[in-house]
């Protein structure tokens, strides 16, 4: 089992594929867990619903969060996890196509660790995912579980 877990919250299948490809080619030992909407992300983090059976102490080293999600949006997911003692310190990176200032300010107000604009081009997207993975899994010291 890998040392690190990345929780990728993304509803666009193309972006999921690109992200998985970028992470796999980076040679950093990490499991990528994909949640396709905000509700599933919260179920994973709080070990409820579809993820009721998993070990809750096993928290991701970083969560990569899209904002425009079906149902519960990204900012609401962020708000929920920052309110709970078990999940409040998890590093969260918003990765979104939105440049809306209200989203940037809203993200930082809710305690996001980093905000990254999703590049449209394949090569740039792969590079960003690779950089993100290296920074948050290797360079950054994650909070202890």
């Amino acid at each position: 089992m890998a040392n690190h877990k990345i929780l990728l919250v993304e509803d666009n299948p193309d972006d999921v594929e690109l992200a998985l490809h970028a992470c796999q080619s980076n040679r950093i030992d990490a499991d990528i867990i994909v949640a396709r909407d905000g509700e599933e992300a919260l179920e994973y983090l709080f070990c409820t619903g579809r993820h009721a059976g998993r070990t809750c102490k096993d928290i991701p080293s970083v969560m990569v969060l899209d904002l425009k999600l079906p149902g519960i949006g990204g900012l609401e997911v962020l708000r929920s996890l920052r309110q709970h003692p078990e999940t409040r310190r998890i590093p969260v990176v918003i990765l979104t196509s939105s440049e809306d200032e209200a989203h940037v300010v809203g993200g930082y107000e809710l305690g996001v660790n980093s905000y990254i604009r999703k590049p449209a081009e394949f090569a740039a997207f792969t590079q960003i995912m690779s950089q993100l993975q290296r920074y948050w899994l290797v360079t950054n010291t994650a909070p202890p579980v």
Binding site: E101, V105, E109, N113, S114, Y115, Q131, N140, T141
Partner: protein, 146 residues
């Protein structure tokens, strides 16, 4: 004209200041580096008080690199105070320290640090880390609007 990024380096150890300045000097975006040597001066600089009371209004730094073990007001207290003030609560802060004490890591995240990095030993590793920090926080990351 592209705006020059500013990094506020809060560090009392002169050797570490020299290392960081040297590493930044070879960087792609060549940010302006403002060095302060203790926590009190960091808060004065950010809030335009004390030694910086007469300074004209300026943008907040794009990034604060914060040591924890500082004379007077320590790094965690600096972080707590700047997160309490509306004008500085969103500015990205990276703790850069030799400490791997769990209380410091938890204390940093609980006070809203963006990232916690242990200072690597050796010039080459330190330079590489500074360049990685610079690329991530000054190019890739979208800072909150001032």
């Amino acid at each position: 004209m592209t705006k020059v990024s500013q990094v506020l380096l809060v560090e009392d150890n002169e050797d570490d200041v020299e290392l960081a300045l040297h590493a930044f000097s070879g960087s792609r975006v060549t940010p302006e580096i403002k060095v302060v040597h203790d926590g009190e001066e960091a808060l004065e600089f950010l809030w335009h008080t004390g030694r910086y009371a007469d300074q004209e209004a300026r943008d907040l730094p794009s990034l604060i690199l914060l040591d924890l073990q500082l004379p007077g007001i320590g790094g965690l207290e600096v972080l707590r105070r700047l997160r309490e003030r509306p004008e500085t609560r969103r500015v990205p802060v990276v703790i850069l320290t030799t400490s791997d004490a769990e209380a410091d890591i938890i204390g940093g995240y609980d006070r809203g640090v963006n990232s916690y990095i242990r200072k690597p030993v050796g010039f080459a590793s330190f330079s590489e880390m500074v360049q990685q920090l610079e690329h991530y926080w000054l190019i890739t990351n979208l800072a909150p609007p001032s």
